[in-house]
Symmetry: none
Subunit: 222 residues, 2 copies
DNA sequence: GCCACCGTAGTACCCGGGTACGACACCCCT
DNA sequence: AGGGGTGTCGTACCCGGGTACTACGGTGGC
């Protein structure tokens, strides 16, 4: 019997997962968590075989929660679910130690077989992600010879967005103002401005409008 | 018995909805659609009491599908579900003739009572939206006495964008500033501001960021 | 132990965006 | 001859967004 913990901030989504999993006679849902903090806590306590983790959750997000769970060294493996097949998520998710990565628009059968694969120690990645994941990986290889210059050319444009920045860019793409972001993320507005400023610098955007456009073009939102 | 058609492009989401609804003894799911076209077709054929409609779907989106369903004059009422409580969706959804509007992070109980309300002819709007919706509405009223009045109240938000406005919204969606738009269109900046202001009013957008988002969602750009 | 990076927060400043007005010319329709 | 819709332009005002700094605690790598 495979024990599963569901971590998702949307009650309806949790309900759907629970019903699907409980309909299988080799799986059982041992708990539900609504945010990352709760997920780590319940994982430590319940030690499920698999944690079904949504990336986007209030407070501690799925990636950070995965990092902690893996760091705890328990037996639980993490299968991350995303709504959008975004490269950054896949990359940071796998770096965080997740055993799998699926998009939410998968068929129920794919999800079930994914859970079984992860439970037995295998890794699973959504087919739509595999290609780009590989591309992104080889892209970061030494390539045998950098232009020789400085060991690390610190062009801020080339460094990827951090998790926090990606998170904020996403809600910028939903039309949130700095004030709203500050409120709903429990941050000072000055902090939000700092993040937004760095996002603009890194993405080469002139203002938040162009950043939002970028978010749409790269399928971060939309 | 309330008959429901589920229109959502995500199989897992449909599964969750189906399980939730079927657990109620006064509801039954008569069909599932994965896009807007399928939703309109199945609605015409099955004539469900309520169509549970996701806004964002490939091809014909939920708003457009709602418009067609309402235009068809059948008995079905549409309850729209969104992931994010964006004003644009609410406005265009209600303009399209939807009977209700809920966000997906609602409690299951809220969704069920919402379906029952819509089925009996009532309207339902997510609490988080009601406030802003009312604010935006009363803001444009004559403030004296409106209701009972003219058969066609010329609410500016109900009229479509003019050609010029559409043209300008498109370049707004490419990240142009007001100054740039004025230069390249050979207009005064004040004129551009006038157009932008009217675009915001008509689309129910708070600022140009939300207008750009709308442009992307409606495939005006992107 | 040190250093780089990240996330947090603050202050001060400037400017573009948005609002609230009013105004005029053109076109099309009745 | 009027009237509604559209496109144009203007002024005045306020505020949120963006910039330019500085700063500090935590964490992870070397």
């Amino acid at each position: 019997m495979t024990t599963v913990l569901i971590a998702d901030d949307q009650p309806l989504q949790r309900f759907g997962f629970r019903m699907l999993l409980e309909s299988q006679d080799d799986m059982t849902v041992v708990g539900e968590a609504a945010d990352g903090a709760e997920a780590t806590r319940m994982t430590a306590q319940l030690r499920p075989d698999v944690v079904l983790m949504d990336v986007r959750m209030p407070g501690l997000d799925g990636i950070a929660a995965t990092r902690r769970i893996v760091a705890d060294g328990g037996p639980s493996r993490v299968l991350i679910l995303t709504t959008f097949d975004l490269d950054e998520y896949a990359y940071s998710g796998l770096r965080a130690g997740a055993s799998g990565f699926l998009v939410k628009d998968a068929q129920p059968e794919e999800l079930l077989s994914g859970i079984r694969a992860v439970a037995t120690g295998d890794a699973v990645v959504a087919p739509s992600l595999t290609r780009r994941l590989l591309d992104a990986y080889v892209h970061h290889l030494p390539a045998t010879a950098e232009p020789a210059g400085s060991a690390d050319s610190p062009d801020p444009r080339l460094s990827p967005l951090t998790e926090r920045e990606t998170e904020i860019l996403r809600v910028m793409g939903q039309g949130w103002t700095n004030t709203e972001i500050a409120e709903r993320f429990h941050l000072a507005e000055s902090t939000v401005k700092t993040h937004v400023g760095r996002i603009l610098a890194k993405t080469g955007s002139r203002d938040r409008v162009q950043a939002v456009i970028l978010a749409y073009e790269t399928k971060l939102v939309g």
